[in-house]
């Protein structure tokens, strides 16, 4: 984030779960793509979709992580295709995020930085920083952590 501000995407997973990623980290929005169930996975991530000949995991932060049920379909209104890189120089990887609505762009400046509140429990372990926006503490999430490590 520079002094004059940087553009970011604001992502609403549910009414009380909002996070941000960098402008370059979202590629495309899909409306209700075909999802495929993967057994013995977590409540938050048990679907994949096909995008440009790739199989991508679909992460839904609005899902109850304590639920054992696989019946609950992802509640997202739209699906965002995200891009990330595990190590500089390695090929780009992709994943999908279920969102409650269309992501929107915001401008984030250094003076908006704030501490991560306890209430962001499900997103806090994925956050690399946090900023204050419209009286909310918005975690900036690390997509490598979102897609590459086990989720509960």
């Amino acid at each position: 984030m520079s002094e004059v501000g940087a553009q970011a995407w604001l992502l609403e997973f549910s009414r009380d779960q909002v996070a941000a990623v960098g402008m370059h980290e979202l590629l495309e929005i899909l409306s209700r793509p075909k999802l495929y169930h993967v057994p013995m996975a977590s409540a938050r991530c048990h679907h994949v979709l096909v995008w440009r000949d790739e199989i991508l995991p679909v992460v839904d932060f609005s899902a109850d992580p304590t639920s054992e049920s696989d019946q609950a379909a992802p509640g997202g209104a739209v699906t965002a295709i995200a891009v990330y890189q595990t190590v500089p120089g390695e090929p780009l990887r992709h994943g999908a995020l279920q969102l409650n609505g269309m992501p929107r762009t915001i401008t984030v400046a250094d003076n908006m930085a704030c501490a991560l509140p306890e209430s962001h429990s499900s997103l806090s372990e994925l956050a690399i920083s946090c900023f204050s926006y419209e009286n909310l503490a918005i975690p900036v999430i690390d997509l490598t952590r979102v897609f590459e490590r086990n989720s509960r």
């Binding site: 495929y36 169930h37 013995m40 977590s42 994949v48 490590r149 989720s151």
Partner: protein
């Protein structure tokens, strides 16, 4: 050894796509036998066994699985088809809605399972793209049989 063979750990000459409850298992042809119709099964008194299939002079149970790959009670119908899977001298039957042969090793493109989908130990070893961008779950018969036995507990054969 092809990329597919490297992932599944042995030579793969083709695949069987076995579909039930809107999921598809992709099983190497080497692990499976020819489909069996429900009326060919020997009746079983066990609650979760839909019948027994005959293989190498022994009878082996056939199960219908749910979307979490756990055996469930199921009412067979005239259209019920069973896929026999074999490993280490054992057999099991998987009750399917549809069985399809993909007669070439590259009919399925294999992808590793992303980290966020690896929650628990699972017989699924990879994800597969087949038949115009459909997604299936790649399993070997030995790990599937072990999974069924573990799910059913010590009372399973």
């Amino acid at each position: 050894m092809s990329a597919a063979s490297a992932i599944v750990g042995s030579v793969v000459s083709g695949w069987i796509a076995c579909t039930f409850d809107d999921i598809t298992l992709l099983i190497p042809m080497e692990d499976a036998g020819a489909r069996v119709d429900a009326d060919e099964l020997v009746p079983s008194a066990q609650r979760l066994e839909l019948g027994m299939l005959r293989w190498q002079d022994e009878l082996w149970p056939a199960y219908r699985l749910d979307r979490e790959l756990a055996p469930v009670e199921w009412q067979t119908s005239p259209t019920t088809v069973v896929l026999p899977v074999y490993a280490n001298g054992q057999a099991r039957g998987i009750v399917c809605d549809q069985i399809r042969s993909l007669d070439h090793p590259v009919a399925v493109s294999l992808y590793p399972i992303p980290g966020c989908l690896r929650e628990r130990p699972s017989p699924v070893i990879a994800l597969g793209l087949y038949a115009t961008l459909r997604v299936g779950l790649v399993v070997r018969s030995d790990s599937l049989i072990r999974h069924l036995d573990a799910t059913l507990g010590d009372s399973a054969r």
